[in-house]
Subunit: 127 residues, 2 copies
Amino acid sequence: METEYETRPREAIARILRAEPRFLSAAELCARLEESGTPVSRATVYRTLERLAAKGEAALRLNDRGEATFMSCDNGHHHHAICRSCGRVEDVACGALDTFVDRLRSLHGFQLDDHSLEFHGKCRSCV
Amino acid sequence: METEYETRPREAIARILRAEPRFLSAAELCARLEESGTPVSRATVYRTLERLAAKGEAALRLNDRGEATFMSCDNGHHHHAICRSCGRVEDVACGALDTFVDRLRSLHGFQLDDHSLEFHGKCRSCV
DNA sequence: AGGATTTTGAGACTCGTTCTCAAAATGCCG
DNA sequence: CGGCATTTTGAGAACGAGTCTCAAAATCCT
Ligand SMILES: [Zn+2]
Ligand SMILES: [Zn+2]
Ligand SMILES: [Zn+2]
Ligand SMILES: [Zn+2]
């Protein structure tokens, strides 16, 4: 069998993630866990984050230093607007680019000054 | 003063990058340099890539394992379509999303099956 | 060639991430 | 309640990409 246990570390990690609209690194998560009186080892933090990401309950993002960061994130396909100064993340539903920008300005009050866009698929010679 | 020298390692690296429409990691670059009879140390490879990226002659990208990869890339703002199987990169000029997708299909013959989009700027509370 | 300056390479080092494995926790069943 | 099989955890070793150091080599200028 392969049952799943509900453990203190897992709950503590999930609680912190759910309360923060930001991508947190494993190190930051460790620090917060320590502060909140529920220290969790690095190994467990990584294992739990990997598990959450696999279940689609957390989004994984590599920051500009290549470190893995995680954020609580519901399943559906959408994109992220990330604040340069505080890191706050606004979820933006997928649609045409213009709609995106409009929504960012009006709905989220987000001042857009840069974006990165990457397509993935198969090139001509790979069908 | 601070003159720049034209050296064998730098030329070898630039030559490989210019011939490959793919993002290459420092390790891959080292291997190719070795093969082509011009071994270059890791340190120099990293220094040269950093230099090229700073001059806007190479694009930097973190792959899904967080490793830095580089590709010869001209200055202007544009986006990338990356083949899932061979890694070939098609440059796509910036414009509305619909135009992007059309261009990918017709001009590049690129079969799009996923994309990632990230906005950067300032959130409401950071002005 | 001579010499000031820049560049290189070998290897030590850093640090994020993964691995190992014995100890602890969990849930179940008698 | 105790055992008990199973899962999870933690401390620390191991790993690997990237950076740093500094003496030796290369480059350019005269
Ligand atoms: Zn902000
Ligand atoms: Zn989308
Ligand atoms: Zn391809
Ligand atoms: Zn653009």
